[in-house]
C-alpha cells in the first residue's frame, strides 16, 4: 500500500489535503464498520423472527375459549391443532364453521391450512368429514388474480394430501392427479406472467395478504419440490416488491387496491403486520397472513430484511406493473398476453428516509380501489396516526365496471357497490379516474385533470390529515403543512373548500360492514380539499425538515420556485422543483423533465438501488452493498453471491 501511495505524484495542494483525506477515510471506514454492526448477526435475526412467529401462534391460541365452540376462525383452529391443543374444541368448531361451507377460495385456503397444520391431530372421523366437504362443496374460482392463486394453491395442496384419489373424491369430478396438473400449470403461468410483465393486482397494502397466504401454504407444505419452490421464490418476490417501498413497516407509493379505512391509517394494513413479523418493524397486529407465514416457517433471506429496513439514502424506485385483465373499453397502450388484454402501469416512488412519495400515471388502471398516488411519512409509532396524503377524482361508471367485469352495463356499478359500498360515493377515498394524469420527480408530484361536464362526480379532493400540523394557506396560493419529519407544500390550480372526510356520512354510518369499522375515529378531524373546477391540477412539493432551517424557510423557498400553469383549454403546468429540476406537463401528453419526455418505453420491471429486473426476464436480482441475491424463475433457482449472509 505504501508503494502504491508513493507511486502517486501528488500536487502540493493535494498534499496539504492528505491529513483531511486520511481523516475522511478513517471516518468512512469506521462508519462502514458501524453500519455493519447495525445489522444483527444472522443467528440473532433468525432467533428474533422465531420469537415473533411463536407470538403470532400463541396469540391465536389465546383467543380460543375451549368451552365455547361458537367462536373462532379456521385460522384459529389451524393454530391450535398445529400444537395438538384444544382438539375437542377444534373438532366442534370446524364442523360448526362448515355448516354449510361457504366463501369459495376464502374457505379453501384456511381449510387446507387447518388440515395440514393438524395432520397429526385429526382422527379418522375428522378426515372422513373433510373428504366429504371437498367432495360436495363446489367453490367458485373467483374473478381476480388473488382469487385464482388462493384457489389453485389450495386445490394443489389438498390433492397432494390424497394423491391417489379419483374424480369421485372431488367436487369438480377430476382426480387428484388431474387437479394437481391443472393447478401446477396455472401456478407456473402466473409466475411467468408476473415476472415478465408485472403483477396485475400490484403493491396492495391490503391484498398483499391474499398473496402471502397461498404462497405460504405452498412454501410450507407442498411436497413437490417445484411447487414448494414456487411458493418460496414468489414470497421472496412479492415481499421484495413491498420491501423497496417499505418505510418503517408501512407500504408507500401507488397501490392497485386499498380499502378506505386503510387509506387513513397505513399502519393498520396487513402489509404492516407482515413487516412486523418478517422484519421486526412497527407493532404487532393479528392477521391471517401473519399466522400463515408463522405456521409455514417461511424465512425471508437476510438481504430482504436489510432492504426493508435500510433507509439511509433517498432513492428512486421504478416498477412496471400491468392492469387487471380488460374485457371491454380497452383504452390506450393495451397489449395481449396469451389472448388477454392488459396495459402497462408505470410506478415511480421516491423513497426517502423520512417519507415515501409514489405514483402511477393515472387512468383507470384497476377497478374500484386504485390509489393513484400517496405520500406517507415516517412515524416511530405510527398506530393511531394518519401519516398520509393522497387525492382522488371520484369516478364510477359502467364503462369502468364493464372494462373489468363480465356483468351487464346496467347492473355493474350497483353490484360493485354491494360489496365496495363507497364505489358510487362522491366523497370516496380511493379509485382511479380516466380524467387524471399524474407524474412525479423525486419529492415533487404534479397532477392534471380534464373532467368532462357529464362526469358523475366532476370534482377532485385531496386528503389533509389531522396529523399534519401548522397547516397554512398562504396568500401565494400554496398550502403548507408539517407532517412528522417532513414539510409539504400543495398548490391547487383552482380554488376549493375544506370538507370533512366522508362528508356524505356513508362510512361514518357504518355502511360496508368491516370496511367502515371505527371509520369515524380514523377520519377524526382530517379534511378533504374539495375543488369543483373540471380543468384542474396541483403541485405537491415534499421535503425533509432536516433540509431546512425552519418551516418559514421552507415556505419561502417554495414560494420562490417558478410555477406557471394554465387551465384554459387543455390544462398545463411548468414548475421548477426545489432541486432546480424543470418539470413540464400538458394533459394528454407525455410529461417532461428538463425538457426531455419521460421515457416510459424503457421502464424496467424493477429498478432501484436494491434490485433490478428487466421486462420479460422472469428474473430478479436483489442488491445490497456487495451482496447479490438472484431469483431465476426460468429454472426456479435462487442463488446468492454472498452465501454466508443469506
Amino acid at each position: 500500500m505504501c508503494a502504491f501511495f508513493a507511486s502517486i505524484r501528488l500536487s502540493r495542494r493535494t498534499l496539504t489535503r492528505v491529513p483531511w483525506l486520511c481523516l475522511a477515510c478513517w471516518i468512512a471506514w469506521t462508519q462502514a464498520l458501524a453500519a455493519e454492526s447495525v445489522w444483527p448477526a444472522e443467528a440473532e435475526r433468525l432467533a428474533a423472527l422465531e420469537q415473533r412467529r411463536e407470538r403470532v401462534i400463541d396469540e391465536a391460541i389465546a383467543r380460543i375459549d375451549p368451552q365455547d365452540p361458537s367462536k373462532g376462525s379456521l385460522f384459529d383452529i389451524a393454530a391450535t391443532v398445529s400444537r395438538g391443543e384444544n382438539l375437542d374444541w377444534a373438532r366442534q368448531r370446524i364442523r360448526a364453521l362448515n355448516d354449510p361451507p361457504s366463501g369459495a377460495m376464502f374457505w379453501m385456503h384456511p381449510m387446507v391450512l387447518a388440515m395440514y397444520a393438524g395432520r397429526d391431530s385429526w382422527n379418522e372421523d375428522d378426515w372422513a368429514y373433510f373428504r366429504e366437504l371437498w367432495r360436495t362443496y363446489f367453490p367458485y374460482r373467483g374473478d381476480t388474480e388473488n382469487h385464482w392463486l388462493m384457489y389453485y394453491a389450495s386445490l394443489y395442496l389438498v390433492c397432494e394430501m390424497f394423491p391417489e384419489a379419483g374424480g369421485e373424491a372431488w367436487y369438480n369430478g377430476k382426480s387428484s392427479v388431474e387437479n394437481m396438473e391443472e393447478a401446477r400449470d396455472y401456478l407456473r403461468d402466473w409466475v411467468r406472467v408476473t415476472t415478465s410483465y408485472g403483477q396485475g393486482e400490484f403493491d396492495s397494502p391490503n391484498y398483499i395478504e391474499e398473496y402471502v397466504r397461498p404462497l405460504s401454504l405452498l412454501a410450507g407444505w407442498a411436497q413437490d419440490p417445484e411447487v414448494r419452490q414456487i411458493g418460496r421464490m414468489m414470497l421472496d418476490y412479492i415481499l421484495f416488491d413491498f420491501a423497496v417501498e417499505d418505510l418503517n413497516g408501512l407500504y408507500g407509493g401507488a397501490h392497485s387496491r386499498i380499502y378506505p379505512r386503510y387509506t387513513l391509517e397505513p399502519a393498520l394494513t396487513p402489509a404492516a403486520s407482515h413487516a412486523w413479523l418478517l422484519f421486526g418493524q412497527g407493532e404487532y397486529q393479528s392477521t391471517a397472513g401473519c399466522l400463515m407465514l408463522a405456521l409455514s416457517g417461511y424465512t425471508p433471506p437476510a438481504i430482504l430484511d436489510r432492504i426493508a429496513r435500510d433507509r439511509e439514502t433517498p432513492y428512486v424506485q421504478r416498477e412496471l406493473k400491468r392492469t387487471r385483465w380488460r374485457l371491454r373499453h380497452m383504452g390506450p397502450e393495451t397489449f395481449e398476453i396469451d389472448g388477454r388484454v392488459t396495459a402497462p402501469v408505470y410506478k415511480y416512488s421516491y423513497v426517502h428516509p423520512d417519507f415515501v412519495l409514489g405514483c402511477c400515471q393515472g387512468g383507470t388502471l384497476q377497478p374500484i380501489q386504485q390509489q393513484t398516488w400517496s405520500l406517507i411519512w415516517r412515524e416511530d409509532r405510527p398506530r393511531g396516526i394518519s401519516n398520509t396524503m393522497f387525492a382522488v377524482q371520484p369516478h364510477a361508471s359502467p364503462e369502468e365496471g364493464t372494462r373489468f367485469f363480465v356483468t351487464d352495463w346496467d347492473t355493474v356499478t350497483d353490484l360493485i357497490a354491494r360489496s365496495k359500498v363507497d364505489y358510487t360515493a362522491p366523497d370516496k377515498l380511493e379509485g382511479g379516474s380516466p380524467y387524471e394524469q399524474i407524474f412525479q420527480h423525486e419529492g415533487t408530484l404534479i397532477a392534471l385533470y380534464d373532467i368532462p361536464e357529464d362526469s358523475r362526480f366532476p370534482h377532485i379532493h385531496t386528503f389533509f390529515s389531522e396529523d399534519l400540523t401548522a397547516r397554512t394557506e398562504a396568500p401565494s396560493g400554496w398550502i403548507f403543512a408539517q407532517g412528522g419529519p417532513i414539510y409539504l407544500a400543495y398548490r391547487p390550480f383552482a380554488p376549493g373548500e375544506w370538507r370533512p372526510v366522508d362528508w356524505t356520512g356513508l362510512l361514518h354510518g357504518g355502511a360496508g360492514g368491516w370496511v367502515s369499522s371505527n371509520f369515524a375515529e380514523l377520519a377524526g378531524k382530517s379534511e378533504l380539499y374539495h375543488s369543483e373546477a373540471r380543468q384542474n391540477g396541483y403541485v405537491l412539493q415534499v421535503a425533509s425538515q432536516r433540509d431546512f432551517a425552519s418551516f418559514a424557510q421552507f415556505q419561502k423557498a417554495v414560494e420562490a420556485l417558478p410555477l406557471k400553469f394554465s387551465l384554459q383549454g387543455t390544462p398545463s403546468v411548468r414548475f421548477t422543483t426545489l432541486d432546480g429540476t424543470q418539470l413540464t406537463a400538458t394533459y394528454g401528453q407525455p410529461p417532461e423533465v428538463n425538457g426531455a419526455p419521460v421515457d416510459y418505453a424503457d421502464w424496467p420491471l424493477f429498478d432501484g438501488p436494491f434490485g433490478h429486473a428487466e421486462r420479460g426476464s422472469e428474473h430478479l436480482e436483489m442488491r445490497y452493498d456487495e451482496a447479490r441475491y438472484q431469483l431465476d424463475f426460468t429454472d426456479l433457482t435462487r442463488s446468492s453471491s454472498t452465501p454466508s449472509q443469506q
Partner: protein, 337 residues
C-alpha cells in the same frame, strides 16, 4: 312463410334413434341466476346456480351450487348430457345431473353460453368472455377457437345454423360475427352495427329469422338467415335489450325487453311492437323465453323483482317467484327425468 319442425326434433330423429325409443324428455323451464337482492356488504350472492321448475311450480336445483352459472344446455342427442356455462368453466353431467365434472381447465373461464351441434353431438361450442371455445369430442376436451375475432372478444351468445351446423353466429360486445367452418375462423357480419350484441335467438319454425338484442341500439332482426340485418322496434332503438325471444310455434310472435323498457311484443314478425298491457313490478328485464308447450306463454325475469309469465301478451302476469334473483338466462331444457 316457411314452417319447419323444431330442429332439435329433426336432430333427435335422424342422429339418435335410441333416444326416441325411450321415454321422451320433457322440456323444463330453467333459470341460471344469482340471488343479489339481499346481498349487502358482501361480494357473494346469497344463492346461485341453475334452478329448474317442476310443473307445479316448485324450483329445484340442477347441478351444484356454483356462484356464477350463466346458462345451461342439454345435448339434443342425449337428454342426460347437460352442460353448465360457469365462471369456473364448463361443468358437465352425463347422467342427467346425478354427477358432474369440470371438463375445462384453468385457461377456460367466464363461459356464458353453450350450444351443441344438432347434427353431430361431437361438436360443442361455448361463448366466453375471452372468445370462443370448441370441443370436437362431445365436450370432453376444449380449445380456443377465436381466430378472426378482435382483441375485445367478449362473447355473450352463440347460435348454430341448424341447416348448416358448420355455420355459427356469435354475439360479441363489438358486434356480430360469423364462422362457416365450425369456429375455425370468424369474420364480422356486415351490416350489423359495431355495438354490443347481448342476446341472439332464431325462430324454430322459420329458420331464416333471427333476432338480436343490443346495448344501446335496441332490437335487430334478420329475415334471410343472418345475412342482412335491420333495426326494428323503434321505441327501443336506444335501449339496452338483454332479452329477445321468438315463439317456438309462431315465427311472427316476438318479444323483447331490457333496462327500463318492460316487455314488448310483436305479433307480425317485428314490424310493429307494443308494450305489455300491464307493467311488471320492475321494468328492468334480464331474461325471457317463450314456452314450447303452452302456446303464447312468455316467461320474463326482472332484475331482482321476480320471474313471471303471461299468456295474454302481458294483460295479466303470473308470478313464478325467484324474488330477489338476477336471472342471466331463462329457457327450456329437454331434461330426461
Amino acid at each position: 312463410m316457411k314452417r319447419l319442425a323444431p330442429y332439435w326434433i329433426i336432430a333427435l330423429l335422424t342422429a339418435c334413434p335410441a333416444a326416441y325409443a325411450a321415454e321422451p324428455p320433457t322440456p323444463e323451464l330453467f333459470a341460471a341466476m344469482i340471488m343479489t337482492k339481499q346481498q349487502q356488504a358482501s361480494a357473494v350472492p346469497t344463492s346461485s346456480g341453475v334452478l329448474w321448475r317442476a310443473p307445479k311450480g316448485a324450483w329445484s336445483r340442477l347441478g351444484p351450487e356454483i356462484q356464477l352459472v350463466s346458462s345451461a344446455t342439454v345435448d339434443p342427442h342425449d337428454p342426460a348430457h347437460i352442460f353448465l356455462a360457469c365462471g369456473n368453466g364448463i361443468v358437465r353431467s352425463r347422467d342427467g345431473g346425478e354427477t358432474w365434472r369440470m371438463v375445462t381447465g384453468w385457461r377456460e373461464a367466464d363461459v356464458l353460453q353453450i350450444v351443441v351441434d344438432p347434427q353431430s353431438r361431437e361438436n360443442v361450442y361455448a361463448a366466453t368472455a375471452w372468445g370462443v371455445l370448441v370441443s370436437h369430442d362431445g365436450g370432453e376436451s376444449w380449445r380456443d377457437a377465436s381466430e378472426g375475432l378482435p382483441a375485445e372478444r367478449l362473447a355473450k351468445g352463440i347460435a348454430i345454423d341448424p341447416r348448416n351446423p358448420a355455420r355459427l353466429l356469435l354475439a360479441t360486445t363489438t358486434g356480430l360475427f360469423e364462422s362457416t367452418n365450425c369456429g375455425a375462423v370468424w369474420r364480422r357480419v356486415d351490416g350489423f352495427p359495431e355495438v354490443a350484441a347481448l342476446r341472439i335467438c332464431q325462430s324454430e319454425t322459420d329458420l331464416d329469422r333471427w333476432l338480436v338484442g343490443t346495448e344501446g341500439r335496441g332490437v335487430w332482426r334478420s329475415r334471410d338467415n343472418g345475412h342482412t340485418w335491420s333495426p326494428c322496434a323503434p321505441a327501443l332503438a336506444q335501449a339496452n335489450v338483454y332479452a329477445v325471444a321468438v315463439a317456438p310455434h309462431d315465427a311472427d310472435l316476438l318479444a323483447a325487453g331490457g333496462w327500463t323498457t318492460g316487455v314488448w311484443f310483436s305479433r307480425d314478425g317485428g314490424d310493429k311492437w307494443q308494450p305489455a298491457a300491464t307493467a311488471l313490478p320492475s321494468a328492468n328485464i334480464t331474461a325471457m323465453t317463450f314456452d314450447p308447450v303452452h302456446r303464447h306463454r312468455l316467461w320474463a325475469s326482472t332484475f331482482e323483482e321476480g320471474t313471471f309469465y303471461t299468456e295474454d301478451f302481458g294483460a295479466t302476469w303470473h308470478s313464478a317467484h325467484l324474488d330477489g334473483a338476477y336471472v342471466f338466462d331463462l329457457g327450456f331444457l329437454d331434461l330426461k327425468r
